[in-house]
């Protein structure tokens, strides 16, 4: 039986109530809006890049505990990373929350704080909540102007 405490871990609740880097980023050179029409979650991600390194990142929006905390932890995680590193993290994170990681990914040290999302794999309908910010990040990096949706 899926475990609610495993889904709503303390770190997730903390970030959903007090999201980090929650602001409009002045002078952002990339931004994108993400939208989950299923539940109305909507976030905007702002980025500053130097060469191919993310030097600053922030977000704003409204959403459920999973999508808000995922966006908050994303900003902490990708700051200072190169685009290739951020992309690789998304791949690992995606495998983790969709349950394709066979349990090994949660122990992967490179995931860092992202490992708290391992419980999402037991709640398939919430995968889109967890990945919304990451899809939006990817869209912002590609400079796509259109709102990305999870549908």
């Amino acid at each position: 039986m899926p475990d609610l405490r495993g889904l709503y871990q303390e770190v997730i609740l903390d970030h959903s109530k007090r999201p980090r880097n929650y602001r409009v980023l002045e002078g952002a050179d990339h931004q994108a809006e993400g939208y989950n029409p299923l539940c109305g979650d909507r976030i905007t991600i702002y980025l500053k890049l130097e060469n191919d390194r993310i030097t600053d990142v922030a977000f704003q929006g409204s959403g459920c505990a999973i999508s808000t905390s995922s966006a908050s932890i994303l900003t902490e995680t990708v700051k200072g990373k190169t685009l290739a590193e951020a992309d690789a993290l998304f791949e690992k994170f995606h495998a983790l929350v969709t349950g394709e990681a066979n349990g090994n990914q949660a122990g992967d040290a490179s995931l860092g704080k992202l490992a708290v999302f391992s419980g999402v794999a037991e709640f398939p309908v919430r995968v889109k909540c967890a990945t919304l910010a990451w899809h939006t990040l990817r869209s912002a990096l590609k400079g796509e102007a259109k709102t990305v949706t999870t549908e």
Binding site: L4, L7, C39, G40, R42, G63, A65, V125
Partner: protein, 423 residues
């Protein structure tokens, strides 16, 4: 709604009247007998779709096991049986709505298709550039988008009658928006988000004073209140079978015969013609003119069985029981701190939408699901209404006559658990 203890005592007595035995009724619904995540299912998502009584499931099964054939064209025994069952269902729908004639009952896929039919057929013929179509601020997307498409095509304008903070129509504003340019008023009978029962009789009278025809979207009304299209005098009425304890993929458009007769066909194909040459096609008479192609025969028969089932309980008994349950649930849920009910109209059907301070509806839905409680979370296909209340989404518990006070208590306990976990 203010509930005095006296009122609750009264409803408790009436709720246990021998006329309405909810425990016996629940036994008719196989899906209600299951455990979900180790807990007994508490199904409170009836505004999305209702569960089906055995009588409906067996009627569909009987068709596929015994009578499966196409209707209106075979000379063989199976086709005669199937045609009779399907046309009997049409008469049941006619009586259910108190329509004058069974040819005024068009079988469609559901309320959405019914509205699209009217927009495409009546709308395209009668709406021109500069004309107006009037809806309300509490419409489901299915009674917004078909009219928007029509307006865009014709250069017409969609007008929206506003509501107050309780979720009640501002009648004076509605009346003002009925202008000489208005070609049709398309109005939700009962709101799927707020539960508001609109004063449709008065709205229809106001529209008729200006010779404006009225379509009622009855998707949420037909399962819960008695509908009499002759007494209402509406031009069109739409409802879905699956919310009325019938199968998915079947519903009804009622239309006044003279209007339907004057309307062009909606789709072309078999069954809707009386003769076809490459030069000219003569269309079939009502209702078949609007039923191109092979219909959802099993679905129509299943809907007939659902209407029989509802009639056996009695719509007045259903409305009475659901009103009492809604009062009980409203009292219980509104007493929870830091929770706000969205939609507090004086006249409501069994829908309770709510928001919780600091907790997103999607998280509420996940926690409740683990308690075996099925609710809907999201914008409920009414995004403009969410914007009106400046909320992204709600959690919605919607009632049916097979729900119980015990289930409401389970919901309240579940909401407490949500607060413990996420509050």
């Amino acid at each position: 709604m203010a509930i005095t203890p006296q009122h609750i005592t009264d409803t408790a007595i009436r709720g246990s009247s021998p006329k309405f035995d909810v425990e016996r009724i629940r036994k008719d619904f196989p899906a209600l007998q299951q455990m979900v995540h180790g807990k007994p299912l508490v199904y409170l998502d009836n505004a999305a779709t209702s569960q089906k009584p055995l009588a409906v499931i067996e009627a569909e099964e009987h068709f596929y096991r015994r009578d499966c054939s196409n209707i209106h064209r075979g000379v063989h025994e199976l086709s005669e049986r199937a045609t009779k069952s399907y046309e009997d269902a049409r008469v049941k729908a006619q009586r259910f709505l108190n329509a004058r004639d069974s040819k005024e009952i068009i079988f469609v896929r559901g309320a959405t298709e019914a509205i699209n039919l009217v927009a495409n057929s009546f709308g395209r013929k009668n709406v021109q550039a500069g004309d107006e179509i009037l809806i309300t601020a509490m419409e489901h997307h299915s009674n917004i988008v078909p009219w928007q498409i029509l307006c865009e095509e014709k250069g017409a304008r969609l007008r929206v009658a506003p509501i107050n903070d309780r979720g009640e129509l501002l009648f004076d504003e509605f009346e003002k928006l009925l202008t000489p340019k208005t070609r049709i008023a398309a109005i939700v009978h009962v709101s799927n988000v707020l539960g508001t029962i609109n004063p449709v009789r008065e709205m229809i009278e106001a529209a008729h004073r200006k010779n404006i025809p009225v379509l009622l979207d009855g998707a949420q009304a037909a399962p819960h209140v008695k509908v009499d299209v002759q007494a209402l005098n509406c031009e069109f009425y739409a409802f879905s079978g699956h919310k009325l304890y019938g199968p998915t993929g079947v519903g009804v458009l009622y239309g006044k015969a003279d209007l339907l007769d004057a309307m062009p066909p909606y789709q072309g194909g078999g069954d809707m013609i009386s003769s076809v040459t490459f030069e000219k096609t003569i269309y079939n008479s009502l209702p078949y003119k609007f039923e191109a192609g092979t219909s959802n025969i099993a679905g129509g028969i299943g809907l007939g069985a659902a209407i029989d089932y509802v009639n056996a309980i009695g719509m007045e008994n259903i409305t009475g029981y659901e009103d009492e349950l809604l009062a009980y649930a409203t009292e219980a849920i509104s007493s929870i701190p830091r929770l706000k009910i969205i939609g507090t109209a004086a006249k409501k059907a069994g829908v309770i939408s709510f928001v919780m301070e600091g907790i997103h509806p999607h998280d509420v839905g996940t926690v409740l699901d683990q308690e075996g409680i099925a609710v809907r979370t999201g914008h409920h296909c009414a995004q403009p209404l969410m914007e009106r209340f400046k909320i992204p989404a709600t959690t919605r518990a919607s009632l049916a006559f097979y729900n119980t006070r015990r289930e409401i208590d389970t919901l309240v306990a579940g909401i407490q658990k949500v607060k413990e976990l996420l509050g």
